[in-house]
Amino acid sequence: MSDLINEYKDVLPEPILNEVKSEIEKRKLTKDKMKEVLEKIKEEYETALVDPGEAIGIITAESFGEPSTQMTLNVKHFAGVAEMNVTLGLPRLIEIFDATKNPSTPAMEVYLKKEYAKDAKVVRKIAYKLKETKLKDVASEFLIDIAKLSVRVVIDKTKLKDLGMSETELVAVLSAGLRNIQVRSTKEGITLKGKEMALNETYTLKEKAKNTFISGVKKVTHVLPVKRGGEFVILTAGSNMKDVFEIKEVDSSRVMSNDIHEIANVLGIEAARQAIINEASKVINNQGLDVDNRHIMLISDAMTSQGAIRGITRTGLTGEKESVFARASFETPIKHLINAAMTGEKDRLNSVIENVILNQPVPLGTGLPDLIVAVNGALSKKKNERIN
């Protein structure tokens, strides 16, 4: 039996063969029947394949373009109180396909290790630990002592307690965060004093102190624990996977971010490819539209095939097209034409858009096949490509 299946190894993909294998085993078919089944599957598989010369790129573009005209232009969307505010719809789709470096609403879904994910209290504590906390978040007052030229920070003790931090710890963090500043704990709070400071410098120190990082994960501005299927998940606004992985309670294998560049940096390009697919389908599904997954995969593959993320912009994917005319027809035509002239670029007219511009048959569909004829006589002597 396995011989027969091995015969089809080069014809059918492995997952299909495995499925066939298990089905055949269940049904106990004769060899002839098995052959018949495999032949039928092969036939079906081959008709399902994309034909040579099929314009998959344009079909993908149209498959996205048409439904996106129906998308409601709602940028912000609140799905109940318990969810985070995330950019969705057309703006998000543009963000994904342009591979914007700074997405407007980066967010993470932080899953926790089993032992921490059950108890709401524990989860809330972890959530506090995740949230980026600045001095102003735990302070109730900032005062400038003009006589001593120092800044006095009155600490809200309950907030500090929520963070699970003692005042001595806070002092230590602050002295590390504020360089060349003397940090002392007093009865009335924490005093900050620099060496030989003028009054205006004291004021700058006060402002600087307000935004001094004291605990949590940087960039994570909001946290929200949510119950999902029996366990708690922490949703965050702001994404910083690398630092979240460091936290011991976090199940790093399941942490998700919507920042594709970050995923590419932290987890690698394959993860980024899948992230693009996930994020794009999230938008499409959220709008109640239906785009075949293969279209999304094609775009994702095209964007990540070179090992780094390239957006569909003139600086990304489109800008790397071979043809001068193809690039010029997208954006900033004059720039492309002049640069091409300076470097003496050649356009071999191999792709679609150039041939439309020249009004020649495009090398797709019916325009793809060529007739090869042996020519005798005068024409045969004509050399190819005279000018160089």
Binding site: I58, L337, A341, V356, I357, L358, N359, V362, V373, I387
Partner: protein, 600 residues
């Protein structure tokens, strides 16, 4: 202390803003200060703004004191008897006008029964939330706001009698509906606006049913026999103008029978409609490209040409001809003078428009659609009583749009027709649906509004009952006769050699960027090329330098201006637009070379 601003200007402070505003408002109501003043307390900024400027939208509200409306029954009685007027109510401080800002500080009740002690004002009537056209939609309170909007928007495009002196006017692109009727189902606004004197629709019998797919996608099937009896006919008017313009050098256009010597003289036959003064006679039947005003203009270029050429000195033909796709009867001819004292001739064309496939119609509920089929009454379904509908409207247009008012109007129209009464369909205050159904029942009809009907072609009874009734239908000004356009070949642009744009100039229909993408997506490569062949050219290329060569047909010689005639010159076929692009690149200082490769 609160800041006070008068017309955006700071004027001072007051101790107690609330008392201050109260005093101002009381003074205004007592007519001590003009009632065009509005005052507003802005809580956010703790400031009082007083506005007396012009251009603010203000609306009247009834003043409420201690939970009681100041507008009493006596007032209403007196108004009915014409003893007091609206202005008196304002003078007495019963009604006041508020602007958007002052309304922020008020608490307005919709109806008298809603009044509490906290209310400061009351709406004159709930209907005031609607505007003029929106209140023309009957049973509007049964609709989604978007459909109400659509319904009123459509009515603005309806044909009717837009002015009664239309015969004396020279309006562009206007129509008059023949035999307009006042609606069977109307609202208070029809009375207020004297709708009866200038109605813009007709009461028709409408059935909610499909007819072999001819009324799918919002189309309607119209009874041809009804059309032949005059339903929804209209007359279209368009003026044509000619002016004797003055040019430099004392030259002037001349309106009159063109002389045979002039440049561009058509033929004697072309001027046959003109009378001796060069203008058509009223009553003449004209069609596209007919000359209706004969006119000649002085030669275009003067100066050097004048001395050498005799031909250049001849006047040019510049007659006014009927536009492409238009025609009709000359309705009126006016010979007059314009503001600058130039002779002006205006010819008004009249064209009777019989409803045809593609003309747009609508009910008053945003249910617009075009005619998909006109068919004789013999082929249309008929009811048990022998009634044949004028219009078949598709039931598929109803559920997703939820225009319940559309359905109720059919019911109301039917009840009104049976009783010979106009039904009041005013939004919020209409004849109740129950009464309509009772009326139908009393007249021997099903109270559901449905009737058993028979297939007009086979005579078979339909298995389902059909919802049928009377409804006010409007013909809209978008008629196919003004929009139909097609072309095979025609004029092209000078620069790109591509077809020109626009129906009036007989232009082409653009196969745009996205349409091109569709061809590519289908892999129809050669078809795409053929579609874009409208500007194809053959250019000769010098294979040695890759630039345009010269093909001298006269001397039967091909040569390159740079490489001479001892080089290979090859003709190639491509779009003229690309040749133009190459020329433009050259003008940029870029030297694009065409490298040719043998196809074989």
């Amino acid at each position: 202390m609160t800041d006070v601003y008068l017309d955006e200007r700071y004027v001072g402070k007051v101790e107690n803003a609330e008392d201050f505003i109260k005093k101002i408002v009381e003074d205004r109501r007592a007519e001590k200060i003009p009632n065009t003043l509005n005052i507003h307390y802005n809580e956010e900024f703790d400031e009082v703004t007083i506005d007396t400027s012009n251009g603010r939208a203000r609306r009247p509200l009834v003043i409420v004191r201690d939970g009681k409306s100041l507008l009493t029954k006596e007032h209403v009685e007196k108004i009915k008897k014409d003893e007091i007027s609206w202005d008196d109510l304002i003078k007495q401080g019963v009604i006041e006008y508020l602007d958007a800002a002052e309304e922020e500080n008020t608490f307005v009740a919709l109806e008298e029964k809603d009044l509490t002690n906290e209310h400061t004002h009351m709406e004159i009537a709930p209907i005031t939330i609607l505007g003029l056209t929106t209140s023309l939609v009957p049973y509007g309170n049964f609709d989604a706001a978007s459909k109400l909007n659509g319904g009123s928007k459509n009515q603005k495009h309806a044909l009717g009698i837009y002015v009664t002196n239309f015969l004396l006017r020279m309006d562009t692109d206007v129509s008059i509906l023949h035999y307009p009727q006042k609606p069977l189902v109307k609202s208070f606004m029809h009375d207020i606006s004297s709708y009866d004197t200038h109605p813009s629709g007709q009461n028709v019998v409408i059935a909610e049913m499909c007819y072999d797919g001819y009324n799918m996608e919002d189309a309607i099937v119209v009874n041809k026999s009804s059309i032949e009896r005059g339903m929804s006919r209209s007359t279209y008017f368009r003026p044509y103008n000619a002016e004797e313009l003055r040019y430099s050098g004392g030259l002037i256009d001349e309106i009159g029978m063109p002389d045979k010597e002039i440049k561009g003289y058509r033929s004697e036959d072309d001027y046959k409609l003109l009378e001796s003064d060069g203008v058509v006679y009223p009553g003449a039947k004209v069609k596209a490209n007919d000359v209706i005003i004969g006119k000649t203009s002085p030669p275009r270029f003067l100066g050097e040409m004048e001395e050498f050429s005799f031909a250049a000195n001849v006047r040019r033909e510049s007659s006014v001809v009927i536009r492409q796709g238009e025609g009709g009867v000359v309705d009126m001819v006016v010979v007059t003078e314009n503001g600058e004292g130039n002779k002006l001739v205006q010819v008004r064309l009249r064209d009777e428009r019989v409803p045809e496939v593609g003309d747009k119609f609508t009910s008053r509920h945003g249910q617009k659609g075009v005619i998909g089929l006109t068919i004789g009454q013999v082929d249309l379904p008929f009811s048990g009583g022998g009634v044949v509908p004028d219009i078949l409207h598709s039931p598929h247009s109803i559920p997703s749009r939820m225009t319940v008012s559309h359905m109720i109007e059919i019911l109301a129209g039917k009840a009104g027709a049976l009783n010979g009464k106009e039904i009041d369909g005013s939004t919020f205050d209409a004849e109740p649906e129950r009464n309509l159904r009772d009326t139908l029942f009393e007249n021997g009809f099903r109270d559901s509004g449905m009737e058993t009907m028979y297939n007009g072609i086979t005579g078979e009874r339909y298995k389902v009952r059909i919802y049928i009734g009377n409804m006010y239908y409007l013909k809209l000004k978008h008629m196919v006769a003004n929009k139909l356009h097609a072309r095979a070949s025609g004029r092209i642009q000078l620069l790109t050699r591509q077809p020109i744009e626009g129906r009036s100039k007989g232009g082409g229909l653009r196969l745009g960027e996205m349409e091109k993408d569709c061809f590519v997506a289908h892999g129809a490569s050669l078809l795409l090329k053929e579609r874009f062949d409208s500007d194809k050219t053959i250019i000769h290329i010098c294979e040695s330098c890759g630039m345009l060569a010269i093909n001298d047909l006269f001397r039967k010689r091909q040569y390159c201006t740079r490489c001479g005639d001892n080089v290979e010159i090859t003709p190639i076929e491509l779009s003229y637009a690309f040749k133009l692009l190459l020329d433009e690149l050259r003008s940029l200082g870029i030297h694009p070379k065409l490298v040719l490769r043998s196809k074989y």
